[in-house]
Structure formats: structure tokens, C-alpha cells
Amino acid sequence: MKRGELIESLINIVLLSLLVGIAIAIVCMKDLFAVVMLAGIYGLISASFFVVMDAVDVAFTEASVGAGISTLLMLVVITMTGRTEHPTRHKPLLAIFVVVVTGGLLIYGTFDMPYLGAIDAPIHTHVAPRYINESMQEVGVPNIVTAVLASYRAFDTFGEVVVIFTAGIGVLALLSVVRRRDEDSVIDSINDSMHEQHLILRIVSKMMIPFIMLFALYVQFHGDYGPGGGFQAGVIFASAIILYVLLFGLSTARKVINQTLIQLIAAFGVLFYGCVGLVSLLNGGNFFDYNVLSSDPIAGQHLGILLIEWGVGCTVASVMIIIFFNFAGRKEFQQRNGNLIDNISKKNKGI
């Protein structure tokens, strides 16, 4: 046991040092492509760190979000905005001063912190023991994180889902492009060059896409018993569709996936989540009190968690799809109207 802990702390130190090293490398690099690649690696390492710290659910989320979607979005954006960073003209002395002073104060503050892994730290004394000891009787779900997320703190999670939905609307408002039917053929010719080249890639990916979707459903429904849940499943499902878009082009994907339907599903997920709370209210319980959903409280809890995880999964998946479609669509729009935008920016620069 002692030896295992030693190894754990060694891995902990190595991973954290790698994180610091990568962060410093990100500061120094001017090539934004390399910065984005390093940010992807940063996400991977922090996810491994979360596994060492026993936070498997968090690692699951970080794996799909930090390493996958976020790298992807940044990459799409730097293809639109240019790849190199211009050097700043003023000296960063003031910034260094601010950072060093703040960091020094924060490090001075850490000396009062409880040590890593201390069992008597204040955080472990209030509500956590109840979650760990009682959740099996009260909620009946082995994964305590899911129990807390979907049952004890369901209202909080509802707020998070609304935030994600709002972000989807924001991206839609900022980037959506009005498309005309006759433009699709032009777009096809832009996209085809990539697809012709990678026959093997296309065939292997075709085999992978159903598997990824199946795995997303497994994560969705297995979230009560292992790491997983609606958030992770939504992101994984969205990444399957993103893979399809990457390989077969945006216009083909638009024929397969109806954009209006996806937007409706995003709204439907939030509504569905809220309605579960309303139904429990109408049945005589509190908002998101699942005990009253069924005659047996435990069965009610199971039903409630299942339903709201569906709502979360729907919203997260469709918002991620909306975000990616809009970024890729904007890029396509810029490619088509490249001259126009060039002219505008030249005019701005010239005057």
C-alpha cells in the first residue's frame, strides 16, 4: 500500500511538471498552430492527472472536451485568422511584476492550506460524508458523482445546461450564414479534393462512426454504474458527427443532418430537463425531487436520473454540433467570399 502511494505521488509530480513545462512552452511560442497542438497535449495530460487524483468522471469529460472539441475549434479558428502571432511592441515588465507579486502572495497563502490527501481537511467534513454514506440508500446509484450531479444538485446542473444552450445560441447568432441552394455545387468542388485523396481514411472512419455512436449511448446509460453520463455522451456523440463532417464535407453533412432539427433538439433537451422538475412539483414533491415520480422512491430516483441525463445528452450533443457546423460553415463562407473580405480588411488597413 505504501509503495503504491509513493508511485502515485511520483506520477503526480511528473504529470504536473509536464503541465508546467507545456505552459511555459506555450508562452514562448509564436506559431499558433504549435500553441494549439500543445494546448491539446495539455488537455490530455490534465485528464491523466485527474485519473491519478481518482476523479474518473472528470477525466472522462476532459478527455472528450479538452483534448478533442476544444483543440478542434481553435484549429478551425486559426485557419480563419492566420497562423503567426505578431510580437508585441511594449515590454512586458509591468505584466511580469503583476504576475510575480500575485503569485508570491498566492504561494504565501498556500502555507495555510491542508496538505494533499489529508483526511481531516475542512472540505471532507461537511456535506461529503453524507453523499458517500447515504447516497446508496437515498438515490440507489453506485456512481456517487452521478447521484450528486443529477439528483442532489439537479437544479445546479439545470443551470449549467441552460448556460450551454445559451452559448449555442450565441455562436449561432454570431456566425450563422444565410445559404442559398445554388451555392452548394460550388462548395462541393471545394470539398471534393480532400475526399478523393483519403480513400483508406474514409473507409476506416465509416466503420468507426457507428461504433462511436454506440459507445456514446453506452456512456449515456452506463453513467449510473461507471464513469460517464449525459455531458460526456453528448460530446462523444457530437464528435462522431463531426468526424462525418470532416470526411464527407459540410454540404453532404447538411443533407444528412437537418440543422433546424438539431436546433430544436437543443431546445427540447433543456425543456425536457425542466419538465422533469415540473412533473415532480405537480406530483407533490419539491422541484427535482424524484422520489414522487414513482411509487417506490428508489425507482423514482432511477427514472428521474435517466430522464434528465437524456435531456443533458440531447442539449450537449446538439449544441456541440451547432457550434461546429457554424464554425465550419463560416470558414466555407469566407473561402467563397474570400475576395470580398480581403477587400474590406485592405480598406480598413489603408485608411
Binding site: Q197, H198, I200, L201, V204, S205, M207, M208
Partner: protein, 122 residues
């Protein structure tokens, strides 16, 4: 008898893990030391397929429970599918975009920009 089998299993597992780690490290040194992209890709090929397979098989032997072995073999299957495909696509994209392998014959081609400058000067 069962005890003996367990020891043999452990030994084989340790052997697989050792081979895997060795190949991992050699591939890692390769990606750092090799001179150009295509040779580095060769080093990565070793770590991504054979070393990964060795380590995963070693882990399967560590814990011959049903679900764990199934998940490990799923990972193994996916590594064997995905990594060669990704490497293939990567090499193809690199070649299409004009990255030349570092061989003697291509040295002349590679110094094209310099030549242009020289001719401009002349």
C-alpha cells in the same frame, strides 16, 4: 498446479510488459533523434502498434477477468485500426503538400529558394 499457472502467467505478462516498454522507449528516442519527418514516422509506427499491443496484452494477462479483458481487447483493436490509418493519412498529406524525404538526391530540389535568390542576384 494452479499456483504454478499463476506464476507462469505473471512471468509472461511481465515479459510482454518489458518488451512493450523497451519498444516504447526505443521509439521515443527515435522520434527525437531521427533526421526527418518520414524516418520519425517509422519510429512512431513501432511505438504505436507493436509496443502498444505488447503492453495491452501484458495487461490482459495481469487480470484475466471477463469485462476488463474485453475492454482491453477493444482498445487493442482500435489502436491497431486507428494508428496505421492516421499515419497513412498523415504521410500522404505531408507528401501531397510537398514535404520531401531527406535523401541525397533531393538536396538540390530542397535548396530551391536559395537558387532563386542567387539567380536574382546574378
Amino acid at each position: 498446479m494452479i499456483f504454478d499457472l499463476d506464476i507462469i502467467r505473471e512471468l509472461i505478462s511481465a515479459l510482454f510488459l518489458f518488451m512493450g516498454s523497451f519498444l516504447c522507449i526505443s521509439g521515443g528516442v527515435g522520434i527525437l533523434r531521427f533526421p526527418d519527418f518520414y524516418t520519425r514516422m517509422h519510429a512512431v509506427g513501432v511505438t504505436d502498434t507493436l509496443a502498444a499491443a505488447m503492453i495491452l496484452i501484458g495487461l490482459m494477462l495481469q487480470n484475466p477477468d471477463g469485462l476488463v479483458v474485453i475492454k482491453l481487447s477493444l482498445i487493442l483493436l482500435m489502436t491497431l485500426f486507428i494508428n496505421p490509418t492516421a499515419s497513412h493519412a498523415l504521410a500522404k498529406a505531408a507528401f501531397h503538400n510537398g514535404l520531401m524525404p531527406l535523401i541525397e538526391k533531393n538536396k538540390k530540389n530542397n535548396s530551391l529558394p536559395d537558387k532563386k535568390q542567387e539567380s536574382e542576384k546574378g
